[in-house]
Symmetry: C2
Subunit: 221 residues, 2 copies
Amino acid sequence: MDAMLDTEGKETSATHGAYRRLRNMILTGELPPGQKLKIEQLRGLLDTGASPVREALSLLTSDMLVERIDQRGFRAAPVSKCNFEEILLLRCNLEETALRASIANADGAWEDRLVLRHHHMKKASQKGAPDFEDAHKAFHMALLDNSKLPLLLRYCSQLYDLNIRYRYLAAGGSSYKKRDIAAEHQQILDAALNHDADSATRHLIDHYRRTGEYLSNQMEP
Amino acid sequence: MDAMLDTEGKETSATHGAYRRLRNMILTGELPPGQKLKIEQLRGLLDTGASPVREALSLLTSDMLVERIDQRGFRAAPVSKCNFEEILLLRCNLEETALRASIANADGAWEDRLVLRHHHMKKASQKGAPDFEDAHKAFHMALLDNSKLPLLLRYCSQLYDLNIRYRYLAAGGSSYKKRDIAAEHQQILDAALNHDADSATRHLIDHYRRTGEYLSNQMEP
DNA sequence: ATGTCAAATAATATCGATTTTTTCTGGAGA
DNA sequence: TCTCCAGAAAAAATCGATATTATTTGACAT
């Protein structure tokens, strides 16, 4: 009834597979915030043993997508407006640092990668492909990855994931206006290709603040 | 049916205990960077089963103290000058953000906590207590924790740990001059108590840069 | 009715053993 | 001598079952 959707064939290990699937379910809201995650239940859902499930949950714990409670098992991490705003704040800070470093290291190969990722993202956006999310993240990470700062990139990636979770929760995953966004992406790309760090970071941060406000307004507390 | 031997009272779970001990061994260099971490070996060392060891290693993976390699197990994370410099860079950036936010929220209770932590740290330093490391971290985290930004604090704590690892590796864990450091701590404390964000962050960052250079000089590549 | 405690239930945490996968070793062919 | 392959050994990943710990239930006393 379900699972052949995400499968790109390669499942190296049961643990890794469970990690990917659980992570996806949490990001999309299929496993809602705060929900108790019982081993048995997940074991059945993922059709695997208890050990891989348990290990996958441990990994998700450090991605801050799952909380471990004393001796009482696991639950999907809760959400709050406060948490959302912190994510936004940190993203603005860290991605600015990373983007400036990326531009400082700019070279032809990086520019090529950027153009390519942007193109793929546009293509996926037009035909409403289910992998738009992936392409979108790939573009954003490509902007940053020329910084050659792996820890920073890791944090940015983590925060990116925490953020898309709020997008799904607030809007069912697709309802934020794509025209606006496309133009914003274009501006960021152009500035990056011109090695204009000030302009690129300004556009990037505006991009985040704008969608941030949009989402913030959709939340209660 | 046995385990009341370990006199330290609070071992909530075998997994958590293994996590703490392994983490300590990696931070202090007892398990050197790059070392293969075999389950059997650790199982014997920690006197526990394979499951807790495995789960502890998973947790350490996301602290970036352990690397998981495909289907080939785990190893202690490698070190490099490059990695060290990135840690330094990120700490300066993130801790400045956190410290400014802390000072912005300053109140009497926070100031009390600061003074107390500082006092404990000085006391531990004088009598060369083995828990100086803990007191030192507690003081630094107390500077930041009034920011009320849990994600940021988590990152700062992680980076702090990654950094003390380099201290142990470079100097056997204790040889960096304590007089200097005491004065620097005092300056940071005073500035924070005066709610002087500029001065506090300047002193804090200088503090990091200085010990950073000291350690950097002790490294080869 | 209500609060408390003990037995029953459910879920977690852990262990021991099995199954895969990788790594090591040694010999046959070039 | 070197490379390539098969078989043996080692290690990791996974499973099934047990022990431990939390939660619920229901009877009893207030």
